[in-house]
Symmetry: C2
């Protein structure tokens, strides 16, 4: 019988969740079947249910895991005593790093949350809305302090978050630049803009 391999201090459930992230990323939540997942774990489909309650639970786990990390980080940043513009840059770098190093989970959380079902769905949407509002608030503080160009803050947030989710393409591309080069290029473009400083 083929047991699920677990490194120390990693539950079998966590192994399943991790494999699910990979699968959901490459096929999408709906198109990825429990039998696919079972195969990638090395076990029969029914056996998964010794460790998880349902397919949707896997999605919960992934979405809220990611959401919680971002929430925690923005709270830390909010409380630092530094200029708002620096807070923005810190958040951007955090987003970039999350996308680079926890690619699958972040990607799935970003694109597949629609398939959550209530009450988790509304809960997730709320958290998302709140996060963006708080991010926008930081930008607006920066604008009032003349650290940041007077732009529409919600639009800026929307651009930032989606721009960073584009790291997906970087992950898949053949000739990757290094992760640090990527991070710095992104910050340059997003923060400094396209045209040369005079």
């Amino acid at each position: 019988m083929a047991r699920i391999k677990t490194d120390n201090n990693v539950s079998r459930k966590e192994v399943i969740v991790a494999k699910a992230a990979i699968l959901f990323r490459e096929k999408g939540f709906k198109a990825a079947s429990m039998r696919d997942l079972a195969e990638s774990v090395g076990v029969e489909a029914a056996s998964l249910y010794n460790h998880i309650k349902s397919k949707t639970e896997l999605l919960h786990e992934l979405c809220f895991g990611v959401a919680n990390r971002f929430m925690q980080r923005i709270e830390e940043v909010e409380q630092e005593k530094i200029p708002a513009a620096e807070k923005v840059e810190k958040l951007l770098r955090f987003h970039i790093n999350e996308m680079v190093h926890h690619y699958e989970e972040v990607y799935v959380s970003d694109r597949e949350w629609k398939h959550l079902s209530d009450p988790y769905l509304s809960n997730f949407q709320n958290q998302r809305r709140i996060y963006r509002k708080r991010f926008a608030a930081i930008i607006e503080t920066g604008i009032r302090a003349n650290e940041i160009e007077p732009i529409d803050a919600p639009t800026a947030v929307l651009i930032f978050l989606h721009a960073i989710s584009g790291i997906e393409s970087w992950h898949r591309s053949k000739q990757k630049i290094s992760a640090e080069a990527l991070e710095n290029n992104m910050i340059t473009i997003l923060v400094d803009g396209l045209y040369p400083r005079k």
Copy 2:
């Protein structure tokens, strides 16, 4: 018997494709069923097959419709005799306008192309890759002419395209700013950057 309503010069197939775009956008390709689509068209599921060959054909239609429009546009822009930086801005504005006015199709083409099957899948991926290369080439021309900050051009393209796909959030948001305001804000942020010009 409930016939599919068609305004003049619009085939029933086009009506179905348009409804499919809406449905695929809100549920995702896999989660949207032919029975859902039938209901939104006002007809039984089997009746759809008098007008289309398969569910996947609907996705082809949408993806390649969008891809062709972008390809045509970039060819026009390439041939204009204007500075590269202006070409970039023209392309950005085109992307923004497409996303604002053909929301559903563009969104579906962007997120659901994975569910195409070969040979359409490889074909689509190719077009996509080529498009991005040509976009990057324009940026690189601009860099050599000192019109554009020396950045990694592929990264810039990736940021632009994904940033613009964020207009999705604008479409769904309650308190929308106007489409023109959105366009100008996006151009400002993407092109001029976040910090004030000195």
